[in-house]
């Protein structure tokens, strides 16, 4: 398989989808995870259980729900988002956000209370405390982001349903692999699979390097 325009387009779309979905999930999931850890309220246990359930929610079911929401006769049909990049991002948000909030909540259980006590002793404001938590938990957040990005680029069921695997528009590496397998083009499918694996490896290496850079900084 050569790196023709279509392949480059598929790779670019997959990366874009992974980055946008991970970024948006982080924006929602990190504060949500910290909130779930810090606040005690009626029904918290149920919400945590729902969050954990959603962490393992089958992507194909998520795809189906988003499809029903955005189909022409669905509640958000007027937005005409189905079979578009935004629809794929929305589907991935449903898949990744519970992973981010769940992992951040679990990580925060070990350290956040200590950090909050310190912030109160320094009379830090709410926003200063929030950013301090993010800074002090950066290693856990790095790991969460890496896991979320990995989940995003390897996901096939939901993006296939809401994206429709349209050439030059919504075809990602996973949906392309699935299509090639259907066509019996195994060598192309394997090659794309290897490219996907390499890309994932490169992203993890980049995150590892960033983390190591931070660690080196900490050794001073």
């Amino acid at each position: 398989m050569t790196l023709n325009r279509e392949t480059m387009d598929i790779i670019w779309l997959t990366m874009r989808l992974g980055l946008v979905s991970t970024f948006l999930s982080a924006l929602i999931g990190i504060p949500l995870g910290l909130l779930l850890e810090s606040r005690d309220f009626y029904g918290k246990r149920v919400i945590l259980r729902i969050n954990r359930t959603l962490m393992g929610f089958p992507p194909v079911v998520v795809g189906l729900i988003v499809y029903l929401l955005f189909m022409r006769r669905g509640p958000f049909g007027e937005l005409s988002l189905l079979f578009s990049f935004p629809a794929m991002v929305i589907a991935q948000l449903f898949i990744i956000t519970p992973i981010v909030s769940g992992m951040v909540c679990t990580a925060a259980k070990n350290v956040a209370s200590e950090i909050r006590t310190f912030a109160i002793s320094m009379n830090a404001s709410r926003s200063q405390t929030f950013f301090l938590l993010i800074k002090e938990m950066k290693h856990d957040i790095y790991f969460t982001m890496a896991a979320s990005f990995g989940r995003s680029i390897s996901e096939v069921g939901a993006v296939m349903i809401v994206g429709g695997n349209i050439q030059y528009k919504t075809r990602t590496m996973t949906t392309a692999i699935s299509l090639m397998r259907n066509k019996g083009d195994y060598s192309e499918a394997i090659t794309l699979g290897v490219v996907l694996l390499l890309l994932s490896f490169c992203i993890q290496t980049l995150m590892d390097t960033l983390k190591r850079y931070e660690n080196n900084g900490e050794n001073y």
């Binding site: 950090i115 002793s121 320094m122 009379n123 830090a124 800074k135 002090e136 950066k138 900490e218 001073y220």
Partner: protein, 222 residues
Amino acid sequence: MVKIIELEKRIESFQLDIKSLLFQEKKIHGLIGSNGSGKSTLIKLITGLMRPDQGTIDLGSLRSKDITFTTQRPYMLHDTVYHNLIYPLKIRNQIPAKEVIGKWLDLCGLTGKEEQFAPSLSSGERQKLSFARALIFKPKLVFIDETMANMDPESIRTFERIITDIQTEDPITWVIVSHQPTHIYNLCQEVHMMEAGKLLFSGTPKETGYFIKERHEKQWSY
């Protein structure tokens, strides 16, 4: 002056119940009592870490940003000693003066360790850094919760000297918590003794000493 009236807090089977307690301004107070007597709970209530079930805590002219506390196991930011020390100034948008930083590093015996990763410091050094960090922004009420418990005599003397110097130059209110009264008798002007969630006695260190002695004798006379 901090005035506590009819303060109540229940935590599982433990009940804190303080009818009246006064921390007079610009004095060094000692808060003593055995483990589980409610000293830390009281501090958590005053500093806003916990909400009382009932009662009032009147901070007088103090604002919450004038109050700080140090703990037995201080949290060190994952950053350098320098950045830990200036954190309270940074969040107040104050530019740290070199002489001030140098003075505090010197007082705590941390000169030359400014660029060291703070969590890698020894426990004694961490205590000293947390103490300096709590005082660098010039608070008006400081709670020291068992901070001196695991310190060597030399470090305790350093702490006492710093407290005495501050009281001579620009006095503030201190509440030093300890389960070992002897640690704080020579420093405090007033001692408050707690037991089983209640305030048992308030007086000068000398009076407190007599009270403890009398109580001890009574207990053993039966």
